[in-house]
Each structure stands twice: as structure tokens, then as C-alpha cells.
């Protein structure tokens, strides 16, 4: 294929849209991503927004950003460095420009660089004029004026007209990267169909932005990013929270169970509740509880009565659920507990990502209280991991902590849609009725069936999931220590020790029912880079780069954190050095050291931001060279 004149080919491009919270940057980024995904690029996104809904306009605190990495090759991160920054005001420029690569493009809305705007962003001099941006290709666009001009015939008021200016940027960037506009236009029609004036205005401005690119002569050429060579199949763009919700729904269907989702709104987990509440026709019941304690307790009650009980939250909410999780462990009921991690402790950084709740998931309960812990490693992977969490919970009668994080929850990537017909059903058994002929159940009765043994275990130590409503299986469960087999209250010392050991063993045995740990790279060698959760893409990319330099390094990403895969200890011991990369101060490293008595190095970051590939690459090379 011959390129038209003035078009340059690029394998990957990173664009960041940044502006005030009210400027519509998330929408602009999402729409550009959508167009790129439909076009056939691989994509990875990173929305980054402030905790305040609308911090004072124009301030540094109010800046909202959306980064999209798209390319013609497989991508696993939203990109370290920004090729093109679109900055809608001085504050957005100030907080984002350091991430632009030297020689990268900075497009600003010059109409928003007045004296007060500059002051709000704490600029002493106008950066558009003082030469401080000389190492970038600076493009000044009077986007506010051009938007007003394009809309001079529109019946909208001036404020409403001004709100269309993000479509100007979207039109311009679409032109620059050769993206057709029709997908955005369709979306505009759908979204604003009921309000034709707004729809028309947005459409007009979108085209004005596109036309501006063609005529302004600022740009020497446009860019072309070819379709990615993804494995064949049908794809859709998905965020981690959407994938998690869909995973829950599909798991319910695969098990023939209604899904009960008890939750209390909290960033960044609320979207899971929002998505699920739209799928009631899939036998999904969503319960917005009065607090996180009620959310988890209602889910436990739902599981007791035969639904797939799920509760979702973020770190502070998980802290509140702690006591009830002990109850779920004690009563050995299926339960999935989603924790979309955010920066902590306390309220911490509500909209930023972190992986610092691993200890909480593993140990955050009173008593000897083991819980299964599994973690998703990318937006699309949230689907598989959510299904897996539900499978383990129901088939092993245990509560499962499912960890994701703000980064993969809000980030998007293409998802190779699985074939519904090829998904294995989740086989769940419930004991059937035992006929009673009346009479008493107090042991001396002659007509009742034998008392039901609620804690009689199978070879996996799993007790029966006997549902209220089933004749002859009446039984009582609770948080007091149980006698094995009968499930009656029992305080005897030996029984307590036996039950603690049994609950632990039951979790340990799950290792026989999960896959072995695999690695990307050589089976043995100089360095194994270990990670878990949402850092997978960055780790994989960094390790691949170092591998290309001919070095002996492999990547091991652990999905099953409790129990660990049965071969993990062996895997770790086959490398001279082990490096554990985490967005916390070394929680997995601590656990691996304790459990496998290996030395392990750490690369850790707690800035509320994901790893950059370069930081990981540097650390890997540093370890390999000494």
C-alpha cells in the first residue's frame, strides 16, 4: 500500500488529553480510543482524574487526564512517554508536560492562557512565550474562538457552545492520525439524540477541528498507525471494571445461579455496581447497602440461601468487611469479595492506583482465618479472573478475595471475546431433600430422618451447600466454633485446633485445582521478575526489552496468591536472583521470603501511579550487572 504524500507511518503512539475536570477530557480520550479500537489498533489506556468532582476551574488540583497508547503491534501498557499532549489550560500543561518526550508535540488551547489562567496554574511567565517549551513542537490553537465561530449559527447559549470545544480537539487529533469521524458521529447521535441542538453543535465542532488540521499548515504531515496484528477473532474494547462485572454475570450463568451483588459506593469500585445493575435480565440482583458491612453480610446471607453472593469495594470498605469475612470463613459459604485497590492508608488517594492491600486480603481478619486470594492482571483479564473467583468460591465453599486495582479497573484494552459455547459450566451441587414423616427432630424422635450433617466433608474437605427450603436438611450455622461433621457449636480444645487446621488445609488443597505457574522466558537463568496484579503489562514489556538485549531474564506473574500454584517454590529456585515488582513497599516479597526462604529483591513504587517500563528496565539491568 502506498502512503499518500505527507503521511508518516508509526508503530505506536501515545497521546494524552489533559484539561480541567469540566473540559470533557475523559470523553475525548474515550472516543479517540474507541475509534482506534474499531479501526483495528491495539490499545491501552490510562485515565487519571482528581478525587474532587470539580475542583476550582483552572487549578492544578482540577486537572483530569486521559492517556491512550495505540499501535500496530501488541501493547501491554498505556505508554511511558507521551508523543502528543493536548493541554486545554495552563494547569493541564504544567502537570503533564514533563511526561512528553523530547521532540514530542504539545498542542494547547491558546485562548485559555490569559493572565488569570496562568496565575491559577502558578505560572510566573507565559510558557507559550518564554521559550520553556522549546524542546517540544508547540502548536497553539485558538480552540475556544474557533469553536464559537463554528457555532455562530447555533441556537445554543455561549456557555453550552464553549462546552463543545473538546470535540474540536477530537476532530483535530482525528485528522492528525488519520482517523475517520463516523464512529464519533454515531456516538454523538446516540448520546444527544434527544437534544438535536447539542448533537448538531458537537458534530459541527468535530468537523471544524478536522478541517482546521487540513488548512492550518502547522503540521508537516499526518501520521498513520496500521492495524495491529492481533490473534484472529472478534474483539471489543473493555475496562477492568466492566470485565469484572461481566465475569460475575457469566459465572452466574455458567453455574445456573442468580447473582447477588451487595455493595456500597466507593471509588474506584462503584462502576461494577453500576454495570451489574443494568443486567437484571441475567438474574442479577444488585443491593446498594447502607454500608460495607451490610453489603458483605447480605451477600453472605444470599449465598446461604443459594445465590452466588458477591460483594465489591475498595480498601477502606474491605477494612469494614473484615469481621464478616471471618464469618464466611467459619460458615464455609461461597462468597466473592472484590477489592478494586486504591492508594491508602485511610481515605488515601481515592482515584489513584496502588497494590498495598495484599496483606489486608491475606491476613486482615481476626484469628487464623485463611482466605483464597487471586488477582487480575489487565483490564480484559478481569473477566477470566472474576469467573475463576466465582468458580473457586462455589466449588470449594470458601470466600475468595478478588483483587484488581484502579489502574486496570479504569484502563481499557481490546478483549478477544471468548466463545460462549466453549465455556465450561461451573458444576455446583446441592444435597437433595430427605423426606420427613413428621415428628420431632430432637434425637428421640423416631419419624424424622437422621440429623443433617452440615460439616461432613468430601475429599477436598468441602462441606455440602444445603439450601434453606430443602426438606430434611434443616441446620444451623454461625460464627461460633463448630464441631467437625455435625457443625454444632463446640468449644473443645482439640476440636478447635482440628478445625483451624482443616480450614487451612481446605484452602491449601485448592492448589490441586488451579493451574501451575508458568513463566515468560527461559525456565531457568539469571533473573526472575515476579509480579502480581495490574503491573503485568509493564513487567512483561520491560522483561521483553531486556530479553531482546540477549540477557537471561524471565517474567513470572502470579494470579493465585493464596494458595500459591503448587510449583511456585520450584520456579523461584531456578533463577540466580528474584526481583519482586510491586506498587507497595514489598508485601508479596515479604510473603515469598517467609514461605519459600528465598532472598528476593524488590522494586517498589507508591506514588499512586503505575510503573513506567523504563524504571523496571533500569532496575532489571542493574540487578543483572552486579
Amino acid at each position: 500500500m502506498t502512503m499518500p504524500q505527507g503521511v508518516q507511518e508509526r508503530t505506536t503512539v501515545t497521546i494524552r488529553f489533559a484539561g480541567d475536570s469540566g473540559d470533557g477530557m475523559q470523553l475525548t480520550g474515550t472516543q479517540f480510543t474507541r475509534t482506534s479500537a474499531i479501526f483495528g489498533n491495539d490499545i491501552s489506556t490510562f485515565p487519571d482524574f482528581p478525587a474532587e468532582i470539580r475542583a476550582p476551574a483552572g487549578t492544578l488540583a482540577g486537572v483530569s487526564g486521559f492517556q491512550v497508547h495505540f499501535g500496530s503491534e501488541e501493547l501491554h501498557t498505556p505508554g511511558d512517554e507521551v508523543d502528543t499532549l493536548v493541554a486545554f489550560n495552563p494547569a493541564a500543561l504544567k502537570t503533564n508536560v514533563d511526561d512528553v518526550r523530547d521532540g514530542g508535540m504539545v498542542i494547547v488551547n491558546e485562548d485559555s492562557f490569559g493572565t488569570t489562567d496562568l496565575k491559577k496554574a502558578h505560572y510566573d511567565a507565559n510558557p507559550l512565550e518564554d521559550g520553556s517549551l522549546d524542546k517540544f513542537r508547540l502548536i497553539k490553537v485558538p480552540a475556544t474562538k474557533l469553536t464559537q465561530e463554528a457555532l455562530k449559527d447555533s441556537p445554543l447559549g455561549n456557555r453550552d457552545k464553549d462546552r463543545c470545544k473538546n470535540f474540536f480537539a477530537l476532530g483535530l487529533i482525528s485528522w492528525l492520525y488519520g482517523r475517520p469521524l463516523h464512529a464519533v458521529e454515531e456516538w454523538i447521535d446516540q448520546k444527544f439524540g434527544k437534544n438535536p441542538d447539542v448533537a448538531n453543535a458537537n458534530r459541527t465542532v468535530l468537523h471544524a477541528g478536522h478541517a482546521y488540521g487540513e488548512t492550518c499548515e502547522f503540521f508537516e504531515h499526518t501520521y498513520h498507525v496500521s492495524k495491529a496484528k492481533l490473534p484472529p477473532g472478534r474483539y471489543r474494547r473493555i475496562s477492568g471494571n466492566e470485565a469484572t462485572a461481566i465475569g460475575f454475570i457469566v459465572a452466574g450463568k455458567l453455574a445456573g445461579k442468580d447473582v447477588f451483588y451487595g455493595s456500597y459506593p466507593i471509588t474506584p469500585a462503584s462502576d461494577v455496581l453500576h454495570v451489574l445493575s443494568r443486567y437484571k435480565h441475567f438474574d442479577v440482583k444488585t443491593f446498594q447497602a447502607e454500608d460495607e458491612i451490610a453489603a458483605v453480610c447480605s451477600s453472605i446471607g444470599a449465598s446461604f440461601a443459594g445465590d452466588l453472593g458477591i460483594t465489591g469495594t475498595s480498601g477502606p470498605g474491605l477494612a469494614l468487611k473484615g469481621e464478616a469475612l471471618g464469618l464466611a470463613v467459619m460458615t464455609e459459604l461461597p462468597l466473592v469479595v472484590l477489592n478494586v485497590q486504591r492508594g491508602g492508608p485511610s481515605t488515601g488517594l481515592p482515584t489513584k492506583t496502588e497494590q498495598a492491600d495484599l496483606f489486608q486480603a491475606m491476613y486482615g481478619r481476626n484469628g487464623e482465618c485463611p482466605m483464597v486470594v487471586i488477582a487480575a492482571n489487565s483490564p480484559a483479564d478481569c473477566f477470566d479472573t472474576a469467573v475463576e473467583a466465582c468458580r473457586i468460591a462455589m466449588q470449594h465453599m470458601v470466600p475468595v478475595n478478588l483483587l484488581t486495582d484502579g489502574y486496570i479497573a479504569n484502563g481499557q484494552e481490546p478483549w478477544a471475546i471468548p466463545d460462549a459455547d466453549k465455556m465450561a459450566p461451573i458444576v455446583v451441587k446441592h444435597p437433595g431433600p430427605v423426606k420427613a414423616s413428621g415428628g420431632n427432630g430432637n434425637g428421640n424422635g423416631d419419624v424424622d430422618p437422621p440429623l443433617f450433617k452440615a460439616y461432613l466433608r468430601d475429599d477436598r474437605l468441602v462441606r455440602p451447600w444445603a439450601l434453606p427450603g430443602t426438606e430434611g436438611l434443616q441446620h444451623r450455622i454461625g460464627g461460633l466454633e463448630k464441631a467437625d461433621v455435625t457443625g454444632n457449636v463446640n468449644y473443645e480444645p482439640e476440636n478447635h485446633e482440628h478445625m483451624i487446621a482443616t480450614r487451612q488445609k481446605k484452602v491449601d488443597l485448592i492448589a490441586q485445582h488451579i493451574p501451575e505457574q508458568t513463566v515468560m522466558g527461559p525456565d531457568e537463568g539469571d533473573l526472575l521478575v515476579v509480579g502480581w496484579g495490574g503491573t503485568a503489562g509493564a513487567l512483561r514489556t520491560a522483561v521483553e526489552r531486556v530479553q531482546k538485549q540477549g540477557k537471561s531474564v524471565a517474567h513470572c506473574h502470579i494470579r493465585y496468591l493464596n494458595p500459591f500454584p503448587r510449583n511456585l517454590g520450584d520456579v523461584l529456585k531456578r533463577y540466580k536472583k528474584v526481583l519482586v515488582a510491586e506498587l507497595n513497599c514489598g508485601q508479596l516479597r515479604f510473603i515469598l521470603r517467609g514461605k519459600f526462604l528465598i532472598d528476593a529483591y524488590g522494586v517498589n513504587k507508591v506514588q499512586g501511579k503505575p510503573f513506567l517500563v523504563s524504571e523496571l528496565e533500569n532496575k532489571i539491568n542493574e540487578l543483572l550487572s552486579n
Partner: protein, 341 residues
């Protein structure tokens, strides 16, 4: 509720095999006996009943019933019961809680279960003390109460369970007492017949840590003057001689004597448990010993939308509108594109 050709069950059929561990003489025994007596009358098979409780002496209750039972954690029974009832609305669900369990640590869940009008029966055993933890004052203990944790008397104002329930828009509110077993049985029947949250406060004697807390309302020589047994549509009359009544004076209730100053039955307040407006019920809930006789019986019984029913209906409605959800549909929603091999 369907009554298939069930073998006629008796109270003892509702007894579990577990040894009862309350102190001898505890009011909880009387409540257990009445519940076991009334359950067979409901015509509901044992396996369709679930007793959910929190933590406290009172919350041991489910262990003693040959039904499904869940002894949960402190204060959270209404939340667990919400999940049980929503998961399977065909179950008949009882919540058993104490004054500490339901109004202290679990106050939040209690009011929210009530305001949602979840179709469960909540039995709050009020002994005005923390029994299980050996005798600290509770949120219903009277001001000045001397207990282990308040040697100089408590400086807390007590909560009044019925006022809380009515404040949360309860659709059924009643009070009864462990010593009046006939009345308790009646109240249990009424609660079971009610659709929506049925809240019963049961005065319960803790003979170990708060013995005699309710003697004023049970002692033979006193009780007729200290309690007002409510009857729907009837004037509010009480007293040994049945000559005292409650009359409204402005917005406040007052005690009057029939015949004195020409006061007739028609001048008295007539009880109406079905009023949409809960003010009368609230006023009754605020009548307290020693200023007033304390109302016993059903203060309020109205029909309101039920949470579990509405939730189930939404699922049905969504299916009717959009069809039964299929896995392939949800997977393939939104913008999709194909990558050729």
C-alpha cells in the same frame, strides 16, 4: 403460603437437638416456647423457615429451632436476612436480636431493613441490658442506670425501640412481654401474617443482670394500671377498674377517668393501627411508665411496598422487556470488530 397436605406438626417438632444454655429463669425461655407453639399454626414447613440472629444471649435463639438458622455476627442479622430473603423470597424469615445487638452496634442495619420494608419478622428481645457480656448498660437502659460499666449511673439517654421503628416508617410495629404468653402468641401470629417488616419489641427479663426491669408491667396488683392493651377500633381504656382512658389534649395524650367530669368512652382516643400517617403510633410509642401506661399490642399495621418483592419484580420486568439474558449476548455487546486470521 401453600399448605400442602402437611403432617400436623407440634411445638416439639420445632425443637432442635441442641441443649439450651440460657440461665434458668431467663425470659428467653418463654419466648422460645411461644415461638415453637405458634410456628406449627402457620402451616409453613420447617425447611421453609430461617431464623437469623446477631450476637447476644437472645441471639442464640436459632440453635434451638429445628428450622434453618444463622447465628451471624454482632448487629448484622438484618443485613444477612436481607440477602437470605432476596435470594429466596419463598422463605419465611425471622430475625432475632437484642437491645444491644439491634440498637447499638446494629442500629444502622435495623433502621434500613425496616425502611425498606423487607418481608421479615424482627423480634427484638429488650432486657435493657447487655446480657452476654455480663451486665453493662444498653441503649435502652434508663438514664442513671447503675451497671458494671456505669458505677455512678449512666448518663446516656435511652432509645425507645418502637419510636425508632416508627421513625424508620415501619409497616408493622408491636410490643409484647415475656410474662404474658397469650398476648405474645397473638403478636407472633399477627407478625407472621403481615407482609413486609414486622417489628416486635418483646420485654424480656434478664434475671441475672437486670432482674425485675419490667415488674411494673407484670405484677398482678400493678399491671392493669401500667399497661394499655391496644385493640384496633376500640377506645384506649385501662386500669384495674377499666375506668381510665387516654384522651388527646391538643397534641398530647392525657390520662382521664371515665365518668369524672362527664367523660365518656367517645371522648377517648380510639386506636387505629391502619392509619397511613404514623403520628398516632409514634405518640403511643412515647407513652412510658411511670407517666403513662405502656402500650402493648399492635401500634401500627399498614400495607406498603415490600423490598424483596419489588426487587424480584424488577428482575421479572427486565426479562419481560429484554428477554432472558444469554452469555453470548453480553459478551458481544458494544462496539466489536473482527481480526481476520
Amino acid at each position: 403460603m401453600a399448605t400442602e397436605a402437611l403432617p400436623q406438626l407440634k411445638a416439639k417438632d420445632f425443637a432442635s437437638d441442641q441443649e439450651i444454655r440460657w440461665c434458668p429463669g431467663c425470659g428467653d425461655y418463654a419466648i422460645l416456647a411461644q415461638v415453637k407453639k405458634v410456628m406449627p399454626e402457620l402451616g409453613i414447613p420447617r425447611e421453609k423457615m430461617v431464623f437469623v440472629s446477631g450476637i447476644g444471649c437472645s441471639s442464640r435463639f436459632p440453635y434451638y429451632m429445628n428450622t434453618y438458622g444463622f447465628h451471624t455476627i454482632h448487629g448484622r442479622a438484618p443485613a444477612v436476612a436481607t440477602g437470605v430473603k432476596v435470594a429466596n423470597p419463598e422463605l419465611t424469615v425471622f430475625v432475632v436480636t437484642g437491645d444491644g445487638d439491634g440498637l447499638s452496634i446494629g442500629g444502622n442495619h435495623l433502621i434500613h431493613a425496616i425502611r425498606r420494608n423487607l418481608d421479615v419478622n424482627i423480634l427484638l428481645f429488650n432486657n435493657r441490658i447487655y446480657g452476654l457480656t455480663k451486665g453493662q448498660y444498653s441503649p435502652t437502659s434508663e438514664h442513671g442506670k447503675k451497671t458494671k460499666s456505669t458505677p455512678m449511673g449512666s448518663v446516656d439517654n435511652p432509645l425507645h425501640p418502637l419510636s425508632i421503628a416508627i421513625g424508620a416508617e415501619a409497616s408493622f410495629v408491636a410490643r409484647t412481654i415475656d410474662r404474658n404468653v397469650q398476648h405474645m402468641a397473638d403478636m407472633l401470629r399477627r407478625a407472621a401474617a403481615h407482609k413486609g417488616t414486622a417489628f416486635i419489641e418483646i420485654y424480656q427479663n434478664c434475671n441475672i443482670f437486670n432482674d425485675g426491669a419490667f415488674l411494673y408491667s407484670t405484677e398482678k396488683d400493678q399491671k392493669d394500671d401500667t399497661t394499655l392493651y391496644l385493640e384496633h377500633g376500640k377506645p384506649m381504656i385501662f386500669g384495674k377498674e377499666r375506668n381510665k382512658g387516654i384522651r388527646l389534649n391538643g397534641l398530647n395524650p392525657e390520662i382521664v377517668t371515665l365518668g369524672e367530669g362527664g367523660i365518656k368512652e367517645d371522648d377517648l382516643l380510639f386506636h387505629d393501627e391502619q392509619l397511613a400517617e404514623p403520628s398516632l403510633a409514634y405518640m403511643l410509642s412515647r407513652m412510658r411508665y411511670p407517666e403513662f401506661p405502656e402500650p402493648m399490642g399492635v401500634l401500627r399495621c399498614v400495607d406498603q411496598p415490600k423490598f424483596d418483592e419489588e426487587m424480584t419484580n424488577q428482575v421479572k420486568e427486565a426479562k419481560a422487556k429484554r428477554g432472558e439474558g444469554k452469555i453470548a449476548d453480553i459478551l458481544n455487546e458494544g462496539d466489536t470488530w473482527d481480526v481476520a486470521g
